[in-house]
């Protein structure tokens, strides 16, 4: 009796895999840099060519860290949503957080072009884009939080999140109809998602916000486990429902909102990684799942990004294309294989 499963081995393997994926990601790209030199550049040793050091420190390392943060953040927010809404199809974007971010960015890119001509286009840069996206996602999150206070049923909340999404899509459609081709292109590129645009200070900011989101998730582990049985049972076992729900929604907003602001709406990761993790660890215990999805999400996005930059070519595919092409069939395969929707 007392089935105290040990998860040390899978965690060790995941950590190792993360390391491998990290070096693979920084080592491969349009310029071929030998693995030895990549390693030396990172730890500050001698590198055969100085330009390699520059490429690694100013381009590849920030991108690899962005992939880690984005993958971890989206996956964790997906896990939180799936448990909170007790819905295997829930992702961080069900709440409309990504739609809010898109609305903010669309308003900035296309709206500024409409109103003030060439002056408006000067306003658009990485920082203003990030601010617009964060503002948009937090606005939607605040609205959802306001509704959550009044409506007890989580299914209703799910639908409200979807409705927020539709409204934003509609506004974006109207804006794009009136906007010129160049602006539209700019917005569409942002919406593809990109991991390569972050500077070190931006990365630091994203990291701090994600740490806060992870901390909130960790203190929610016990209520998350209780919520597996439903809200009535959770309450009967001493969970303060209202408070836990605010903390979990807040954590999701921080994680998904910050990621979308900086990297654009990255598809599939938030929905799929929790499922993949549950399959591998075969548990529903959030004490295991929370650290596992963080590691898993980071690894998966690092690998996706490695593929997206098409090693040894100068082409870079949108990250969303890769995450969807690889991810969607994986989820379908897993679901068909196990028949039972693991949740």
């Amino acid at each position: 009796m007392n089935p105290k499963k040990s998860y040390r081995l899978p965690f060790l393997l995941l950590a190792l895999l993360l390391l491998v994926a990290f070096f693979l990601n920084t080592g491969l790209g349009s310029v071929t840099i030998p693995l030895k030199d990549t390693f030396n550049a990172i730890i500050g040793g001698t590198v055969a060519e100085d330009s390699w050091r520059y490429i690694i420190w100013n381009y590849r390392l920030p991108k690899a860290f962005t992939a880690i943060l984005v993958g971890a953040g989206l996956s964790l927010s997906g896990l939180l949503m799936q448990t909170l809404f007790r819905n295997p199809l829930a992702g961080p974007f069900v709440l409309g957080i990504s739609s809010g971010a898109s609305l903010g960015v669309a308003l900035l890119i296309m709206g500024s072009g409409l109103i003030s001509g060439w002056v408006g286009s000067l306003l658009i840069n990485d920082v203003t884009l990030a601010i617009a996206a964060s503002a948009g996602s937090f606005l939607v999150l605040l609205a959802v939080l306001g509704v959550a206070a009044r409506i007890k049923d989580t299914m209703a909340l799910l639908i409200i999140g979807l409705m927020f999404g539709s409204v934003t899509t509609a506004v974006v459609t109207v804006l794009s109809y009136f906007s010129n081709a160049e602006k539209l292109r700019q917005y569409i590129f942002w919406s593809y998602g990109s991991l390569g645009n972050l500077s070190w200070p931006q990365l630091g900011l994203l990291g701090v916000i994600l740490m806060l989101g992870i901390a909130l998730s960790i203190i929610s582990i016990k209520p998350l486990n209780a919520l597996l049985l439903g809200e009535h049972y959770a309450r009967s076992m001493g969970t303060s429902l209202q408070r836990s729900r605010y903390i979990i929604i807040g954590a999701t907003g921080l994680l998904a909102g910050a990621v979308t602001a900086f990297a654009g709406p990255v598809a599939f990761i938030g929905l799929a990684v929790p499922h993949l993790t549950r399959q591998i660890f075969d548990t529903t215990d959030h004490k295991v799942l929370v650290p596992a999805v963080i590691l898993y999400g980071a690894i998966l996005l690092l690998l996706c990004d490695t593929l997206a930059q098409l090693p040894s070519s100068s082409y870079v595919l949108p990250i969303n294309a890769i995450t969807s092409i690889i991810g969607a069939p994986v989820v379908i395969w897993l679901l068909v294989r196990k028949r039972k929707m693991i949740f």
Partner: protein, 268 residues
């Protein structure tokens, strides 16, 4: 049926005074059942019976603080139920509900151990004491050997036992169960009810459940509450039979109560 009750010195566990249950709506309160008063002692095994829609589940959910009462008072060990909050309530009342579980991907052990949540630390670490309680709960329902099985592999009867084990692991003086015998065949109905009776008598727990199995409840329960929205009679089954309370439980056109056997018969 004979009227023999084992009279022990018992402490007062649950008091319900002039309770009205139902739902609060904009147009005003929608009362489902009212004027309910009864008293349970520790170790009492008690059933709530009545026709569909009379408010059995609503009453049980109100007692379990799943929904607030419209008026009246519920006292738990002498203290008003409203004064119990979160953890205190979780240490006093455990529930077995009819609603389907959000996930059946938990193993039996994982589900039962959730019952220890009121006693564990902020992240839910199980101590030796918690593990002992979980083992005891699984042993009581006879599922020690199935502890590693996933809940989706279980039959309805086994699933019900797991939910009862979870409530047992929560280690509360009062257990409330909403229709614990639905979807089960007669044999397993009796098995579950006998198990609950044994738990209440051996472990001195107060167990209150709703059921449609009036004849089984008459044979097994110490106390019964008949919800009919007229008298809402409460008492030992044999007293209720003597007072002819069961005759008015259902409309008389199809079935009638036979006081000699404690069964309902189809009117010929």
């Amino acid at each position: 049926m004979s009227c023999t009750m084992n009279k022990k010195a018992k402490t007062n566990a649950l008091e319900v005074l002039e309770l009205a249950v139902g739902y609060t709506e904009k147009q005003g309160d929608k009362i489902v059942a009212e004027a309910i008063s009864f008293e349970l002692h520790s170790g009492d095994f008690a059933a709530i019976v009545g026709v569909n829609g009379i408010g059995k589940s609503t009453l049980l959910r109100t007692l379990g603080q799943v929904q607030p009462p419209l008026s009246g008072e519920v006292r738990l060990r002498g203290k008003n139920l409203d004064t119990y909050r979160n953890r205190k309530l979780a240490e006093a009342i455990s529930l077995v509900l009819t609603e389907p579980l959000a996930t059946k991907n938990l193993t039996v052990w994982e589900l039962v151990q959730l019952g220890r949540q009121p006693y564990t630390n902020w992240i839910g670490t199980l101590e030796a004491r918690d593990r002992k309680k979980i083992s005891q709960a699984l042993a009581m329902v006879g599922l020690e050997s199935s502890h590693a099985k996933k809940c989706y592999e279980l039959s309805d009867g086994q699933m019900q036992k797991v939910l009862i084990a979870r409530a047992l692991a929560q280690d509360t003086p009062l257990m409330l169960l909403d229709e614990p015998t639905t979807h089960l065949d007669l044999y397993h109905k009796v098995q579950i009810l006998k198990l609950l009776q044994r738990i209440s008598h051996e472990m001195d727990k107060t167990i209150l459940f709703t059921t449609h199995e009036v004849d089984l409840a008459i044979q097994l329960c110490d106390r019964m509450l008949i919800l009919d929205n007229r008298e809402n009679s409460f008492g030992a089954p044999c007293e209720l039979i003597e007072q002819k309370r069961f005759e008015s439980l259902f409309p008389g056109d199809l079935i009638s109560f036979d006081p000699k056997t404690g069964n309902f018969k189809i009117v010929s």
